[in-house]
């Protein structure tokens, strides 16, 4: 057993989990006689070694930042929002649809409108789960899983039956969005070797700042955290549990929805039919778990996972290792995060001797009454 300080342990858990995850990947590669060192080396060089790769890595991280914030807000309020894929998908289709339906609006109106519409769509999907939780006590894990599939099939239906044929290429893909509804920036894309990096990353950084500010500096964030930590105590303190449950799920869904918007208006510039829950939802969940739901943690974890995902493509071509090893490594990392009890056994937190406020001569601690105990007087020295 190793003794560490509480703060060091806080950082050790994710770092060791990441290394252990890579180790699992390496072992699997060794079993099937691939060379893990070449594989990982090619992974990092292709993701970070040139401007195009770097741009794609940042592009890949962008939606994950949003979906991870979505997961984090809900989990601060004590909920497990596993419906991120559905919420992001709703945001994706909605934003693309809004842009395609209003191609003549000026950019400064159309783009914000599409982003807000996407956030709204995600918020509605998550809000259903929040509402049912608040008023009927329905388990949000089950409702959000079910909503994922409801959204998946509804989007197929909307795409194939409801969307006007003039907005689509065929029943499975929409037309590409016009430039006045796109997050694409020419200079940014050219700077990063013509990659698909887009203005979404700036929105992502703003979103992280908003998330940090919301949670640390506002009453809204405080109430959400309080309800998550102890719903009974916060109710006793006059906070409405119902209001905070619904609010946190609406916010969570809105961020997840923007994750989908960034995917639609930034990465792909269109929407195409999905046949299973979209990956940015699950990856966002993993990012938030690894980043321990802090703003910095989410930023770093999203960049790490996007490095893996973009680098994995290079690894497949250069080292010939199947791309799927990347998802195995990510799953393994989350597994190690999940079994953090092992870390409790491995690392003992040092009992920090509580630093005492140096008392001045004659200073007293606390009032002397029957409730708070006897007052302490500092012994006069010398």
């Amino acid at each position: 057993m190793i003794k560490v300080s509480a703060k060091a342990k806080h950082y050790l858990v994710p770092i060791i989990s990441v290394f252990a995850g890579f180790l699992v990947g390496a072992i699997i590669m060794l079993i099937w006689s691939y060379n893990p060192i070449t594989a990982y080396a090619s992974m990092f060089t292709s993701a970070l070694g040139n401007m195009n790769g770097l741009g794609e890595t940042i592009r890949e991280a962008t939606p994950l930042i949003f979906t991870a914030i979505g997961f984090a807000i809900a989990s601060k309020a004590g909920f497990f929002n596993i419906g991120l894929p559905g919420q992001a998908q709703a945001g994706w289709l909605t934003s693309v649809w809004v842009v395609l339906a209003n191609p003549n609006l000026p950019k400064y109106i159309l783009l914000p409108l599409a982003i807000i519409a996407g956030a709204f769509a995600g918020a509605i999907v998550a809000g259903i789960a929040g509402f049912l939780r608040a008023y009927f006590g329905t388990n949000e894990v089950i409702t959000t899983i079910m909503l994922n599939y409801i959204v998946l099939y509804l989007c197929q239906y909307l795409m194939q039956q409801i969307m006007p044929a003039s907005l689509r290429n065929d029943t499975d893909t929409t037309r590409n969005i016009p430039a006045n509804g796109s997050l694409h920036l020419d200079w940014l894309s050219q700077l990063f070797g013509n990659s698909r990096i887009n203005a979404g990353i700036f929105l992502g950084i703003i979103a992280l700042l908003i998330y940090w500010f919301l949670m640390k500096k506002t009453t809204v964030g405080f109430e959400i955290k309080a309800v998550g930590l102890n719903p009974f105590a916060s109710r006793y303190a006059g906070m409405s549990a119902k209001k905070n449950i619904i609010l946190s799920m609406l916010l969570s869904g809105a961020f997840a929805g923007i994750g989908g918007v960034v995917q639609g208006l930034g990465t792909y510039q269109n929407y195409f039919t999905q046949t299973s829950s979209i990956a940015i939802g699950w990856d966002g969940l993993s990012v938030a778990l690894l980043g321990n739901s802090t703003a910095w943690g989410i930023l770093i974890a999203s960049l790490l996972f996007s490095t893996l995902k973009i680098g994995g493509l290079g690894m497949q071509t250069v080292a010939g290792v199947p791309y799927e090893i990347v998802s195995i490594v990510i799953a393994a990392i989350i597994f190690f995060i999940a079994i953090k009890y092992v870390f409790d056994l491995l690392f003992k937190v040092k009992k920090t001797t509580t630093e005492q406020h140096p008392l001045k001569k004659g200073e007293e601690i606390g009032p002397d009454n029957g409730v708070d105990g006897p007052n302490l007087k500092l012994q006069k020295k010398g």
Partner: protein, 318 residues
């Protein structure tokens, strides 16, 4: 198409689509009754599907028509091995059940495809030659009318699944083992004081769920999809989870809900052959299981239907 053959078509396709759901949801019932939430059913089904297809492709020439049945057993065994991960994490290492289950779902598809690529050097297996197909049940198929609707050209795994349901219901509600299993899901502390080994019971619950979900995945792969790829198991595990809840955590209930969900699924596929149904957009059939589950959960408000300690880690020293 006359009424009798129409009915026979609906019944047989319902049974084909229900069989994997019934088997998997039974696994969910056992896990949750022992106190471990298992949303990893989807991932376990993927493992079952993948291993059974590999077995089937490799040994079809050796075992002939028995291949899919042995393949199903292989899938079930690997399913329970895979579920050990969930059992160890939640029972011994106090992991959050939802996160651990999610890990199974995240891990299984890439693991399967990675191995497929390593073995076959492409992302999808060839189609199997020996699948479950359609069976006439000897004896019963000769009964007039009923025999033609229910027992001719029907799915043998589905009838086996119904028999297994009755057996597992009997074990859960009529035997000592079943009582002990349910007691660890309701009140592990009390069970422990009475000398029941809570950890052992929960291992039995989770491993049974792994076995059954692996079986379900294997049956799905060998009777419906016919091969394995990343999109073989997409949502069936979650639909089985819905059946567990809709069936109120009871094996018989889970089976009936699975049959109903299988019916909805088959309607969305054969619906265009049926008069009247063809006009209804398939989306209603596709989302029906999920909408119904949410509605049922809302309607059961206040009635404690889930095992009381479902999803709660048991820490012995506490």
């Amino acid at each position: 198409m006359n009424f009798e053959s129409l009915l026979a078509l609906i019944v047989s396709s319902t049974l084909v689509y229900s069989a994997p759901l019934i088997l998997t949801s039974l696994g969910g019932v056992y896990s949750e009754n022992s106190g471990i939430v298992n949303i990893g059913l989807e991932g376990i089904m993927t493992v079952g599907a993948f291993t059974s297809i590999i077995f089937n492709l490799t040994f079809a020439h050796a075992f002939g028509s028995a291949t899919p049945w042995i393949g199903a057993l292989v899938g079930a065994i690997f399913g329970s091995i895979f579920s050990l991960l969930h059992a160890f994490a939640t029972i011994n290492l106090r992991a959050d059940h939802i996160i651990s289950g999610t890990v199974l779902n995240l891990l299984a598809p890439p693991l399967g495809v990675f191995l497929i690529k390593a073995i076959y050097e492409k992302g999808q297996t060839p189609n199997i030659t020996a699948n479950f197909g359609y069976t006439n049940i000897p004896g019963l198929a000769n009964i007039p009318v009923i025999g033609k609707i229910f027992f001719t050209n029907t799915s043998a795994p589905a009838w086996w699944a119904i028999i297994i349901t009755i057996f597992l219901w009997w074990v859960l509600y009529k035997t000592r083992l079943g009582l002990r299993l349910r007691s660890t899901g309701e009140n592990p502390q009390a069970a422990d004081t009475l000398g029941i080994n809570v950890y052992k019971m929960r291992y039995i619950g989770v491993l049974t769920s792994g076995f059954m979900a692996g079986l379900g995945g294997a049956v799905f792969a060998q009777s419906i999809s016919g091969n394995f790829s990343i999109s073989t198991i997409v949502g069936q595990g979650f639909m089985a989870l819905a059946a567990v809840i809709f069936g109120k955590w009871n094996p018989i209930g889970a089976m009936l809900s699975s049959l109903f969900f299988g019916f909805a699924q088959s309607l969305s596929i054969i619906g265009n052959q049926l008069p009247g149904i063809a006009k209804i957009p398939t989306v209603y059939m596709q989302i029906a299981p999920y909408v119904i589950t949410i509605v049922v959960l809302v309607l059961f408000l206040g009635k404690s239907v889930a095992p009381a300690a479902d999803g709660v880690n048991y820490i012995k020293s506490k």
